[in-house]
């Protein structure tokens, strides 16, 4: 009886201890002392998790009931043993040990001093602290840039898309003749660039993108994102200083956040995820039995959800919310504005989703996880290669628990440990509706992110884990606030140690992030080097009157980024495989059917697309061009690329017929004809039109289809362009 009483009194602590131990085992895996060179603390995390489960279940079994609350202090205290393990020294950790332990100790010490001196964080001080912190982080980013535009991986592609949107919105998708003989510029929908465009459109229109892009990135990461997190915390009615804490946690959420934002340049994803906390907080109100939506929040929800959905995979994050809304249908139906919100969302989103589904081959992509057999010839002298080709970043596979746990641990290692350990108690501290919304969404995203990656590798679902950590900032902020409140109102050794420990990690994290932004971490990101402008100038000077083709396969050879925005830095049309990141394995720009014919095939392809200069960066192609001095003359050499001008050709954009090109712009080709019929050396698409002409497809070969024009008037300007979006949606 006495034991039962003791256990009953400490049930909350015991259950918390068991849960925290499970979390520790789950995120840490096999664990060693200090820096990994020391003794093993445990070699089998599953055993530790099992012990945690036993400890968790024991009081439940004895008392035959669940404790009403969890003790957040117990969870916080697990950060102390974490300090002594090798977890902080593992690669891709946000807190880059071993030196980070110094910062944790220092700030824990200062936190303790603050408690001792009873320093109160007034609203003025809170605001100043957060403002200064964000300024410092932004300063680290700009300092690392040294005035150069960020050019890492997809950032140049995103710059190109923004420029396209700036020049063409709302007439998207459209035909762009600038790349590869003409492309369907449609990936605004799939990549989420629309949300970023809308949010920052005043600045995008007001300033040239080349000069403003870094500022836009900084605004997104250090103002918009923490601002949204602050707003979400206010919507969720977290008391001060929890919204400020949430804002700081947001900018220190995970190393992978900055990987996706700065290294990979997936700005559509970042913008969408920035808004998700607001969406989930509003969902919490919708699900709450007591709260109602205000008109402002209703309008905000429409925009917020729409902008989030522009990055289409964010739909995964809405699934639990939709299911819960259906489960609590009556309650949701009686909420003010709920029906209006749904109607508005459908009215705004159905048109563009329809366009997206039509133009983007979404269903094929979603089912495209299988390896495909393809034939390609990598170099002029190589034999054809056949076989399975890796299509995506992840390989396809089935459910695998061990791999799922490993994937979860990889992501957890990169996350702020406060989020890992304080999420569970934090969820229990939220209001019921908010708890349901955040809890269900986090659980769903964690499951999807860890388990479904190999099933659908093309969707890169490991990002769902990152989204889960972002959303966790809200409950964790509330947990931290309660910890400090407990320390202030009922100071004890336990609460003081817990609060001081949390303070150490909380204030140390921004410095680690400053290092990441300063490019002093394992996640390196890149800015445009001199070669970008040098290459653009050289193409302008030596490109000739036709197109410039990049031989071989180009991925990140240009200053660690893609070639995409080069078309805006020169007046030439370019060709490359690929100017965007749509290929995961080597794929030659020249199709296999032409490569098989060796030199003749290569020349034929170059003639077909009116290529007047080629750019080589691979030795076999350089050697090929150098071995044919009668056809290719080297005219420029940079650190990576070399330009060869074609000799002995008569450039023309007309395969058949006669005419002249008057201008080639971002979304159209203006030309005039001296004959009624012609074949233009531009790729054919069914949504193209030329007023006054009959447009059809000219099949040159299996892979090349050009534009045939018939019955055209002569000697007047004609325009090859895409039909308007509505016509394309319904009629083409």
């Amino acid at each position: 009886m006495g034991l039962e009483l003791v256990i009953s009194r400490n049930a909350s602590q015991l259950v918390s201890f068991g849960l925290a131990l499970i979390v520790f085992a789950a995120v840490s895996g096999n664990t060693y002392l200090w820096d990994g060179q020391g003794a093993a603390i445990w070699n089998s995390a599953s055993w530790i998790g099992g012990i945690g489960a036993l400890i968790l279940l024991f009081p439940v079994i004895v008392t035959r009931k669940l404790p009403k609350t969890l003790d957040a202090r117990v969870f916080a205290l697990f950060l102390i043993p974490l300090f002594f393990t090798d977890w902080l020294c593992r690669q891709y950790n946000l807190l880059q040990g071993p030196p980070i332990r110094g910062e944790i100790l220092l700030f824990a010490f200062f936190t303790g001093l603050m408690f001792r001196a009873r320093v109160r964080f007034t609203p003025y001080l809170r605001g100043i602290t957060v403002f200064l912190l964000l300024v410092v982080l932004a300063g680290s980013f700009f300092y690392a840039s040294h005035g150069r535009i960020i050019f890492s991986d997809d950032h140049p592609v995103f710059q190109m898309r923004l420029q396209y949107l700036k020049d063409n919105f709302p007439f998207i998708p459209f035909f762009s003749p600038l790349w590869n003989g003409g492309i369907d510029a449609r990936d605004f929908f799939a990549t989420g660039s629309l949300n970023f465009f809308f949010v920052f459109s005043p600045l995008i229109y007001a300033f040239p993108l080349q000069q403003s892009y870094n500022f836009l990135v900084a605004l997104l990461l250090f103002l918009f994102f923490p601002g949204c997190m602050y707003g979400a915390a206010r919507i969720a009615r977290l008391r001060h200083p929890a919204p400020y804490i949430a804002a700081i946690l947001a900018v220190t959420v995970s190393l992978f956040w900055y990987r996706w934002a700065l290294k990979y340049g997936t700005m559509g994803f970042i913008t969408s995820v920035s808004l998700l906390p607001i969406n989930v907080a509003i969902l919490g109100i919708v699900l709450s039995p007591k709260r109602e939506l205000s008109p402002g929040l209703a309008v905000l929800s429409v925009f917020s959800v729409t902008f989030s959905l522009f990055w289409s995979l964010s739909g995964f994050a809405f699934i639990p919310g939709i299911l819960l809304a259906l489960l609590l249908f009556r309650r949701v139906l009686h909420k003010k504005f709920s029906v209006l919100i749904v109607i508005a969302l459908l009215a705004i989103n159905i048109p563009w989703i329809g366009m997206f589904l039509k133009v983007s081959n979404v269903f094929n992509f979603v089912q495209a996880e299988s390896l495909t057999t393809a034939r390609h010839i990598p170099t002029p002298e190589a034999k054809p290669l056949e076989g399975e080709q890796k299509l995506f970043r992840h390989k396809k596979g089935g459910f695998d628990l061990a791999k799922s746990i490993k994937k979860f641990q990889e992501n957890a290692r990169a996350a702020n440990p406060l989020i890992l350990f304080l999420l569970i108690p934090g969820l229990f501290m939220l209001r019921p509706g908010t708890r349901l919304a955040f809890g269900a969404t986090c659980f769903w995203l964690g499951s999807v992110g860890a388990v479904l990656i190999p099933v659908k590798p093309q969707l890169e679902l490991d990002r769902m884990l990152l989204i889960m950590f972002v959303l966790s900032c809200i409950p964790v902020a509330e947990c931290i606030r309660r910890l400090y409140l407990t320390q202030r109102l009922r100071p004890s050794l336990l609460s003081t140690v817990a609060a001081v420990t949390v303070g150490g990690y909380f204030f140390a994290a921004p410095f680690s992030v400053a290092g990441v932004l300063g490019n002093r971490s394992v996640e390196q990101y890149y800015f445009a080097n001199d070669e970008v402008q040098m290459l653009a100038n050289a193409i302008e000077r030596f490109g000739g009157s036709g197109r410039v083709l990049f031989s071989g396969f180009v991925l990140h050879e240009l200053s660690q980024g893609h070639l995409a925005p080069l078309v805006f830095q020169t007046s030439k049309q370019l060709m490359a495989s690929s100017h965007v990141h749509d290929k995961w394995q080597y794929r030659q720009i020249i199709p296999a059917e032409y490569m098989e014919k060796k030199r003749e095939g290569i020349i034929e392809y170059l003639d077909l697309y009116n290529v007047t200069a080629v750019v080589a960066h691979e030795k076999p192609w350089r050697d090929f061009f150098l071995k044919h001095p009668g056809m290719f003359e080297p005219v420029w050499r940079g650190p990576t690329f070399e330009i060869f001008q074609r000799k002995g050709i008569t450039p023309s954009y007309f395969l058949e017929g006669e005419g002249s090109i008057l201008s080639i712009e971002g979304n159209k080709v203006v030309f005039s004809l001296q004959s009624n019929d012609a074949v233009l050396k531009f790729n054919y698409f069914p949504f193209l039109e030329v007023q006054g002409c009959v447009l059809s497809k000219e099949d040159i070969s299996e892979s090349v289809h050009l534009v045939r024009l018939s019955g055209c008037p002569t000697d007047i300007p004609l325009t090859l362009h895409s039909v308007d979006p509505l016509t394309r949606l319904f009629f083409r």
Binding site: W34, P99, G102
Partner: protein, 551 residues
């Protein structure tokens, strides 16, 4: 009787001061020994004696007053006046004579400890003034908001600006220290404005601080590729620039004994007088000396998580100079500023005497200092001439000898040798780990003699399969036994490829490519690459073999 004893006690500090001044004079400390950073190799090997950066910025106030800023005496007098002012704020009830005597003793004592380190003395020159102003501004007796208070706040900002300017790279730590000082002494209800008056000038100075003329080493340039040396710090976080390390032995020499002595003195004084512990001076003195002890006495693993190493990482530019050497005199200022007359004088004497017997870092041979910079080790391994060759070799053309190879042989797996010349990095010649030995080699005979400046072994995807030691022999006469061929280059251990910053400073690079640059160009008909030291667990692989041809 009592009054005569009291009078005698009053003069003790004066007597001590005169004695110290006499000591200093007798040592003929005259012109200041200013050390400014210079360009060239010296900067790349070591700076001062511990790879630090601390330029002398000049002192416009002194120049304005017509005082020569190079004169050690100038600093001594000005600093002593500051100490007197600080003392006056801390002990307003103390007699003026004692204040002057003790203040002078503090000033002279610290100046003697610094001796040739005039730049360091200059860095703390305005610190006593700053503290004195802070005490004045936050004095409980004085009302806030009057014109006089605004003048004092203005002076606070002025001294903060001068202190930051003089402290240079230590501006941020001093600003933090001063801000903490003000927070500690601030009466609860008082304005935070004086704290901003201290911090903002420091921020302005830091923003305008010229970028140190340090080679721009890439973030992951390492001193020793395998990190065999444990004293290398790569500050990866915060604002610290990518500096490799500070010469810890020199820091230890300078600060270990003074820090220990001061820590013991602080501890004893705090134990004797509990009020001292609660005072800002006692607390800061104990904290600073304790931090210095952690920094210099504890092993690497503990030191890098100590307070000073942490501040060096997270405060702007603070990693450019070892804070321990600055923390010692600052802690002495704190210790002495609150000390009663007699014990303070004794402390000063003790510390000054101790400094005379401590070894002098300047006597260390700078070129023998290990790990002074990422470049130092390379200079000692390769020498300047060879590094110059390596730098020139970067612009040499790298050719595959496929077209002029007559034959190739190897110790093992000769059937794979053609992969060395097929232009495909994924295919390799390799010796598995369990077969490797020091007799392994690859030998190539060319169709005709060729002038080459080195060989390049590209590992491709086999980055872990690099050797730990290699030797290249060459000859124009392939009939001779290979052991009689000339050794063109031998690198044992081979630690990594050598890269060069844009300023020309060498550093260790990755292991994707092994670039063996001969000491001079050679006419070669045949060459042999010999494994002199294999790795423990990995194969020895070569993806592609190329030659360095000078242009």
């Amino acid at each position: 009787m009592e009054s005569s004893q009291h009078s005698a006690q009053k003069f003790i500090p004066l007597i001590l001061t005169i004695a110290l001044l006499g000591f200093a004079f007798s040592l003929s400390i005259g012109e200041a020994n200013l050390f400014s950073p210079s360009d060239g190799k010296a900067l790349l090997v070591s700076h001062l004696y511990h790879n630090a950066f601390f330029p002398f910025q000049g002192e416009p106030i002194l120049s304005f007053l017509g005082m020569k800023t190079e004169m050690w005496w100038t600093f001594l007098v000005l600093f002593s006046v500051g100490c007197v002012a600080l003392r006056a704020q801390l002990f307003p009830e103390e007699e003026k004579v004692t204040q002057i005597g003790m203040g002078s003793a503090m000033g002279v004592g610290i100046a003697i400890i610094f001796r040739d380190e005039t730049i360091l003395l200059h860095s703390v020159l305005w610190l006593p003034y700053l503290f004195a102003c802070g005490l004045r501004v936050y004095s409980p007796e004085k009302s806030f908001g009057s014109l006089g208070q605004w003048i004092w706040i203005g002076l606070l900002a002025l001294f903060s600006w001068r202190l930051s300017n003089a402290a240079g790279v230590c501006a941020a730590p001093f600003a933090v220290l001063a801000a903490l000082f003000l927070v500690w002494i601030r009466p609860g209800h008082r304005s935070l404005l004086p704290i901003f008056a201290v911090v903002l000038p420091a921020v302005a100075v830091l923003l305008a601080f010229p970028e140190p003329p340090w080679p721009h080493y890439p973030p992951f340039a390492q001193i020793i590729r395998n990190l065999e040396a444990s004293e290398i710090i790569r500050p990866l976080i915060g604002f610290a620039p990518g500096l490799p390390c500070v010469d810890r032995s020199a820091v230890f020499t300078l600060t270990a004994l003074p820090a220990l002595l001061l820590f013991l003195l602080s501890l004893i004084s705090c134990i004797i007088d509990r009020e001292r512990l609660r005072s800002v001076a006692g607390g800061f003195s104990l904290f600073l000396t304790g931090a210095v002890l952690i920094d210099v006495w504890l092993p690497y693993g503990a030191r890098i998580i100590g307070p000073l190493a942490t501040f060096e990482r997270i405060l702007p530019l603070a990693g450019l100079f070892p804070l321990a050497t600055v923390a010692v005199p600052v802690s002495l200022i704190f210790l002495l500023s609150r000390a009663p007359c007699l014990s303070g004088s004794l402390c000063t004497l003790l510390v000054v005497l101790g400094s005379f017997f401590a070894p002098k870092p300047l006597s260390l041979d700078a070129t023998r200092i290990p790990y002074a910079s990422p470049s130092a080790e390379l200079y000692s391994v390769y020498g300047e001439a060879q590094l110059s060759h390596m730098k020139e070799a970067l612009v040499s053309s790298v050719e595959s000898p496929a077209e002029y190879v007559l034959q190739a042989t190897a110790s093992r797996h000769e059937e794979q040798l053609h992969f060395l010349f097929d232009g495909v990095l994924k295919s390799r010649w390799g010796v598995p780990a369990d077969e490797r030995s020091r007799e392994d080699f690859v030998s190539v005979q060319l169709k005709e003699s060729k002038s080459i400046s080195g060989v390049v072994l590209e590992l491709g995807p086999y980055q872990t399969d690099f050797p730990k030691g290699l030797r290249v022999r060459t000859s124009e006469n392939c009939e001779l036994p290979s052991e009689n061929w000339e050794i063109a280059i031998e690198e044992t251990p081979w630690v990594g490829n050598v890269g060069f910053t844009k300023e020309g400073a060498p550093y260790w690079l990755n292991t994707q490519e092994i670039r063996l640059v001969f000491t001079e160009e050679k006419m070669v008909r045949c060459f042999q690459i010999e494994l002199t030291k294999p790795q423990k667990f990995f194969d020895w692989s070569i993806g592609e073999l190329r030659l360095l041809i000078s242009e």
